[in-house]
Symmetry: C2
Subunit: 428 residues, 2 copies
């Protein structure tokens, strides 16, 4: 089947999937968990092939690490599926109910979006998480994973497809794209695909947006900031900034640029340097920073760079206001934090920083669906509409309005013969 | 100021506007109402110029009708503003609150989207409705109205800008684009504009989508259907179909294609023809239809056409299933209705028709923000993400996550030293 046929079939399946009951969906989820368990040897074997190929191609260590899909990872995704089974079915939930007039009832019902195209990087666990989230939310899904994980993705996809179709899901509700050409082709299929979720660099997400009519929920760069205020607790600031930078450098919620109030800099920066030196973090600083600690010179491009590495850029600012303006100018709307004991400064920062996640006195690394308590996540959205921040099941839903009547016509209301009552039965 | 400077200023204003308190916003709304009242003579004068110019250019009657902005229309928009004042401020509403761990509190807060670009047709009341909805929801707005309403839009814009900036709103929160070139320029300003709302034909909305990286909430064609089932009450069907077609033909929620079950057609179609003949509706039918009533032949292109006129295409189908498939193939996801006394058929139809508004035994013309009880509306969205169906204030909002802690770091949770509690305080 070519990608065009797959997308068409996914569209047809999506209509059926939207109407499937919770029991069937949960049965399908359990079937996936069981099949992953019983095929774990084959999965590990396929993954070994991917890792060997990647090693031969001298793929970078962080990617190799994310590529690994061993018994522990399989156990984790199975646990994830079990917790997804336990969640209430979000589809069909009544969000709003209004009596427009006697015997004329409007309801707003949560419903799946339809067909979702997800393009993700080289983590095979993402394939399982995303497809099970789509299943639970009643969406058909077209998947394209990183080419490094080709063999692992293929076997995972086959296991999921077989298990779910046997459990009663419509044929073709899930499809795997294998080539870059497939990706370029689906960008044009706005007739069949309702939403694209690309995960990757800003450049990649922009490319997708530029080349498709389909709405895009971007999961792009995290140029995350922490601002250490003049009223910061210095010890707390060192701890939080160190964790934000080094706990896991290769992820979108890691700290990239540190902003420091000029009054806090002389006491804070040397202590921070001691802490970061233990992790061999390369510091790049503005001129004022370099008067206080040793650092490479930072320029304009640093403020706009996501290093994903043991590198931190540092800028000294005069006020909370300047920090906010810097973040709104150079940030990516992902996660930004203020460290201060001054509640007023914190409130101002959290109100005016225009990011999906605004933090006070905690590590930026908390910005994540699992840590937020959402269970699995599709990713962290840097879009400004539909869903922002970590996206769980709810981000894969939209709604439809149902209006049930007994022959009412608009002419009666337009002429004043009848009047709307607009009684809210269930409110938003 | 050129459009680039206006957009940049709107971006800056949007940050301030997001933080403005409800009293100031309501004060600004009241100032608009007062200014509209005290300038109504000038507004009517400007509108007369627009109407005279349009008459000279032989603009079609439906457009002339929508263009008219007289004392009654002014009274209506003032009433709309007053009801908007009475609504609760949606910004800052807590949607979710979770204790992630002791002293680590996550909240999800409703927030404005930012800067919204709205391109609308020749109804001047739309300018007032859209800008006041943006104001109440804390969004900056760039407006472009139909060129026929140029003078009316200009004076309305100037009145709103002056009244609101005097009432304390940030300078430049609202801007008016006057040329087509302005529209083409803003399509490229994804740095400043967060959402485009084009209202117009499918071709126009597609053009916007194709030529911009900015997310688009489309308000495109309404190819609305009514399906008259074999178990329909024939009298009710005639009444509902007639209202759907003729109550106001030039709008997106008017009926365009009628689907009739083959068993209902012989008794229903002649009665319907009698009713529609009174309104000089031109009927176009499939072959089976033309065996029962007189009608012009309809072909494939008719099923995909929004007439916005006294024309109705009719197709006879074998089953609810065929009706659903026809609608999902040719419809625009706007509003589709089933007429039947069979609850099972109604449930199936409403579940499987993939449209923003699915109706049972009522006129398609009810699909509208005012009739739904939302107060004013931005329009009826045919998008599948963010907001669908009639869009009121809620569709102009997104959210941000705030996380407040006391120095928590992720390393403590990753190593198992600490554990998340994930206690829901306020649920979604």
């Amino acid at each position: 089947m070519n990608i065009y046929e797959s997308a068409k079939l996914a569209r047809e399946a999506s209509i059926q999937l939207a109407a499937i009951d919770s029991d069937t969906k949960n049965k399908a989820l359990k079937a996936i968990a069981k099949a992953l368990e019983s095929h774990k040897r084959e999965i590990e074997k396929a993954n070994t092939v991917d890792i060997q190929n990647s090693e031969q191609e001298q793929v970078a260590m962080p990617i190799l690490k994310r590529l690994k899909f061993d018994e522990n990872k399989i156990k984790d995704v199975i646990e994830g599926i079990e917790s997804l089974c336990g969640l209430e079915d979000p589809v069909g939930k009544v969000q709003l109910k209004t009596e427009l007039d006697e015997d004329l009832i409007l309801t707003r019902i949560a419903s799946p979006i339809g067909v979702i195209g997800v393009i993700f990087e080289s983590r095979p666990d993402a394939l399982v998480q995303i497809s099970t989230l789509c299943l639970k939310s009643g969406n058909a899904v077209l998947l394209k994973g990183g080419s490094e994980a080709k063999e692992t993705n293929k076997i995972l996809y086959e296991i999921i497809k077989k298990a779910t179709e046997e459990a009663g899901l419509p044929e073709g509700w899930i499809a795997l794209m294998e080539t870059r050409e497939d990706v370029n082709n689906i960008l044009k299929m706005d007739k069949y695909i309702d939403l694209l979720i690309p995960r990757g660099s800003n450049a990649f997400v922009s490319y997708i947006m530029k080349n498709s009519n389909i709405p895009v929920m971007g999961h792009a760069d995290g140029i995350c900031h922490t601002y250490v205020d003049k009223d910061a607790d210095i010890e707390l600031a060192v701890k939080v900034v160190t964790d934000s930078k080094v706990q896991y450098v290769a992820v979108c919620n890691a700290l990239e640029t540190l902003l420091v109030h000029k009054d806090a800099a002389p006491s804070f920066l040397p202590k921070l340097k001691d802490s970061l030196d233990k992790h061999q973090v390369i510091l790049k600083g503005c001129e004022e920073t370099r008067k206080i600690i040793e650092a490479e010179p930072a320029d304009e491009t640093d403020w706009a760079t996501e290093y994903l590495d043991y590198i931190l850029s540092i800028k000294i600012v005069d006020s909370v206001k300047e920090a906010i303006e810097h973040i709104n100018e150079y940030g990516s709307g992902h996660t930004d934090c203020i460290v201060t004991m001054n509640q007023e400064a914190a409130d101002e920062f959290m109100m005016l920083v225009d990011s999906g996640n605004v933090f006070h006195n905690v590590s930026t690394r908390f910005s994540d669906g699992y840590r937020y308590g959402f269970g699995a996540e599709v990713g962290v959205s840097t879009s400004k509409i539909h869903a922002r921040g970590p996206v769980g099941i709810e981000g894969l839903l939209i709604y439809k309005y149902k209006l049930c009547g007994t022959g009412q016509i608009v002419a009666d209301y337009a002429t004043g013969k009848k009047h709307f009552t607009h009684k809210r039965i269930i409110s938003l």
